[in-house]
């Protein structure tokens, strides 16, 4: 079965976009036209150049090539996006599995904790956390992950509630298989697929939230390139030097959109297979 058939045309296109961004991020030192400027070396003799053959996306207030900055920014954005989801899964999945399988007090306890987190508007909680922890990439990831994991806990729990009454799980239990083994070998693999789709779907919003924190000055610190922070830095120059704020803005838009559509496509294949 071809990829296009499995994911549909939009899904395939978006997969390509994600792959292109991922490759650019990984190979940044080789694909960026001015690698040093991508890292942050100033080049002030060329400040605020409009897009040209030498600088495809123009230059910023310190004369750095925007294309190189955007490519290096992809490293930060993709890593934060993926890590936020990974950390959230790492916390949310075990919590959801335990709560769902054992029920009773464990369930009540864990779910009330998730309720507390879900009661806050997600971005507000992330901003509060980031403001308390201080700026920096790691703190940014922690701040967003803290608001993110309860969703996975909820989702995992819902999956387990359905799965634990399935005949094959029932059978395993009757055969005397230990609960950890049932959870890990019989329930987890079945629960992973919907969670995986959800996770792919969430990388987009996660990197969007991380960019929002950077935009507010709570994310990665300059001179490290980061899209949200670049949009903020370019905002005061917007009407006249549009390329400064627009280039990273378009990058955020493209990547967030690509992850969302890709996630949708994955979910659709899941349904078709089922």
């Amino acid at each position: 079965m071809s990829l296009v058939k499995r994911l549909g045309l939009p899904g395939t296109l978006c997969l390509c976009v994600v792959v292109v961004f991922a490759l650019a991020a990984m190979l940044a030192p080789f694909v960026a036209p001015y690698a040093a400027q991508g890292i942050g070396t100033p080049n002030i003799s060329a400040k605020f150049q409009p897009p040209s053959a030498a600088y495809w996306l123009g230059t910023d207030h310190l004369g750095r090539d925007m294309l190189s900055r955007v490519i290096y920014g992809a490293r930060v954005s993709m890593t934060t996006g993926v890590l936020i989801v990974a950390v959230s899964l790492l916390i949310g999945l075990p919590v959801g599995l335990l709560a769902g399988y054992f029920g009773g007090w464990a369930d009540e306890g864990f779910m009330r904790i998730t309720d507390i987190f879900l009661a806050f508007p997600a971005l507000l909680l992330a901003v509060l956390m980031a403001a308390a922890l201080g700026a920096g990439m790691l703190n940014c990831i922690i701040s967003v992950a803290v608001t993110w994991w309860p969703w996975y806990a909820r989702l995992a729990r819902a999956e387990v509630l359905v799965l634990r009454n399935q005949p094959y799980v029932e059978a395993a239990r009757l055969m005397g298989v230990s609960p950890p083994r049932i959870l890990l070998r019989h329930i987890l693999p079945a629960a992973l697929r919907p969670l995986g789709v959800q996770a792919a779907l969430d990388v987009g919003p996660a990197l969007l939230t991380a960019s929002a924190l950077s935009f507010l000055g709570l994310g990665v610190l300059p001179p490290t390139a980061d899209w949200g922070q670049m949009v903020d830095a370019g905002r005061p120059f917007f009407p006249a030097r549009w390329w400064y704020a627009v280039s990273p803005g378009v990058a955020i838009f493209l990547l967030a959109l690509a992850f969302s559509v890709l996630g949708d496509a994955l979910r659709a294949t899941g349904r078709r297979d089922a």
Binding site: I44, L62, P236, F237, A240
Partner: protein
């Protein structure tokens, strides 16, 4: 910039401009001449006793002080001009100051300006003990021997004519309102002698002043002065471009070229009293070593920071005392950017690499550009500079804790409460038992004594005092106690049809509206 307000202001931007324009038109319909100032920050406190912020912009039009400071320009030395006091004299020991008041001056409430009113007003400010009331601390007694004479007795010799010219806490207020509290003043009330009277104040929105018909000086041209609070720089710019405002500031430096090209706008840039510097932590290795500090100062890209951070409008800082202030040292021995010499000094000091942290104010573009460019230069010397933006309170608390655990370089701006070099040198470099503003923890008894002596002389022998201040500041420069980054320009964007505008940096971002016309 208040980022949290960004979404709000963008959302309301279109609406805001529309309503602002409609509102101006409504006021203009009866033919009144209006001056509109678009101010990038709010006015937190309109009490003349405690106001110690942007509110000076309003205070200076409603109230007046005894004297006014006029900064030096070119060959013209700085001077103190008469305002409510017509002339004054000082006893040879510098301890007794006699001010002779202008006659025929009336408060907005109709009362006469008398010596007793001046005495009561200043005593009220001192008693309220808020804001900048500390400027009066050298004054031990005020007497009013007759209606036109006020005599101040000081406990130590100080330049009282300059203190009386302060942009904060020196306002003379009518005796009839001295029993009122801050809430009353902040409801848009007040009574001074200035060319404008309070009409209305809507916190966070605007303050409106009306012409004082009984003003003693030249009758103001504008019937009303409107101080609109507009926090978003994008909206500020569109207001001044569209003619909804006559005066504004705090637009990004890099946008000024584009504004200059418009004939209907004039960009007024001149020196301010605000200087930017980074204080080296002299209590912590490796910056406890003079050679390392000198190397760091040699590695600072002075010209590049001025050209990139302030679009070339700032100027080289000659120590901490900016041009226009007496005590400014045009020939100060400041270093030039020289990476080779810096490398040699580091080698002499035996320092091959270092990790340093520089703290600065979150969201300040000039400071962050300075940090980024400096970091790039230091990287070539094997020094890694971490740029740590912090909210002011946090930055200050960290610096006031144990110097051994604090930042390596503390970056901030300084400007004086009233115009004296002592304000800069004492606050920033005088030895302190517990750090307050001397956040590089510099301590040099010779320097302390010299500036204290100079301050004592500054009321009676200003020439000698000035020479002593200059000599003292050179000690700080040779000791490389700080990197003197730049003197910030005062940049105001005004409509070209506005006549008579002169910026006075002694009163930061204040417009004396009565001097303007169209």
């Amino acid at each position: 910039m208040k980022r949290r307000d960004f979404l709000k202001s963008v959302g309301l931007a279109g609406l805001g401009t529309m309503t602002a324009a409609r509102w101006s038109m409504a006021v203009a319909e009866d033919g009144a001449k209006i001056f509109t100032m678009a101010h990038p920050a709010g006015f937190p406190d309109l009490s003349p006793a405690t106001s110690f912020s942007n509110d000076g912009a309003i205070m200076a039009n409603v109230y007046e002080s005894l004297t006014r400071y006029i900064p030096g320009q070119g060959d013209q030395p700085a001077k103190v001009e008469p305002l409510l006091a017509e002339k004054w004299d000082v006893s040879p020991d510098g301890l007794t100051w006699t001010f002779h008041l202008r006659q025929g001056v009336k408060f907005h409430d109709g009362g006469d300006l008398t010596a007793d009113a001046v005495k009561q007003s200043i005593e009220w400010t001192v008693k309220t003990a808020g804001g900048a009331s500390f400027i009066w601390s050298p004054v031990s007694a005020i007497a009013a021997p007759d209606a036109a004479t006020v005599v101040f007795t000081l406990s130590s010799p100080q330049p009282l004519d300059m203190i009386a010219a302060s942009g904060f806490a020196a306002w003379i207020v009518s005796p009839t309102v001295l029993d009122k509290d801050n809430a009353w003043f902040n409801a848009g009330n007040g009574s001074g002698t200035g060319p404008y009277k309070m009409e209305r104040y809507e916190p966070g929105q605007r303050c409106i002043l009306t012409k004082n018909d009984g003003y003693w000086g030249k009758a103001p041209f504008f019937d009303k002065a409107v101080f609109a609070v507009v926090e978003d720089p994008v909206l500020l710019q569109s207001m001044i471009e569209g003619g909804d405002a006559d005066w504004t500031y705090s637009l990004p430096y890099d946008n000024l070229e584009g504004l200059k090209a418009k004939p209907e706008l004039t960009v007024v840039a001149n020196a301010s009293f605000q200087t930017l510097f980074g204080m080296y932590n002299v209590k912590k290795a490796p910056l406890d070593n003079l050679k390392v500090r000198q190397a760091l100062s040699l590695a600072f890209p002075y010209d590049d920071v001025i050209s990139s951070g302030t679009a070339g409008l700032g100027s080289r800082a000659k120590g901490v005392i900016p041009a226009g202030i007496w005590g400014h040292d045009e020939a100060a021995p400041i270093p030039k950017t020289d990476l080779v010499a810096a490398k040699a000094l580091l080698a002499e000091a035996g320092v091959t690499g270092a990790d340093l942290t520089m703290t600065f104010a979150t969201g300040d573009n000039v400071e962050s550009v300075a940090g980024e460019l400096w970091k790039a230069n230091l990287a070539t010397l094997g020094i890694n500079l971490t740029l740590q933006p912090m909210a002011w309170e946090a930055q200050w608390q960290l610096a006031k804790s144990d110097p051994a655990a604090a930042q390596d370089i503390f970056v901030m701006y300084w400007w004086p409460t009233y115009v004296t070099p002592y304000d800069y040198l004492f606050n920033l470099f005088h030895s302190e038992a517990a750090p307050n503003y001397n956040l590089g923890y510099y301590s040099n008894p010779d320097f302390d004594k010299q500036i204290d002596d100079a301050a004592a002389l500054s009321g009676t022998d200003r020439t000698k005092a000035e020479a002593m201040f200059i000599e003292a500041q050179r000690k700080v420069i040779t000791d490389a106690a700080a990197v003197f980054m730049l003197d910030l320009p005062n940049v105001h964007v005004i409509r070209s049809d506005l006549k008579g505008y002169v910026d006075n940096p002694a009163y930061g971002h204040v417009v004396f509206v009565s001097e303007l016309s169209k």
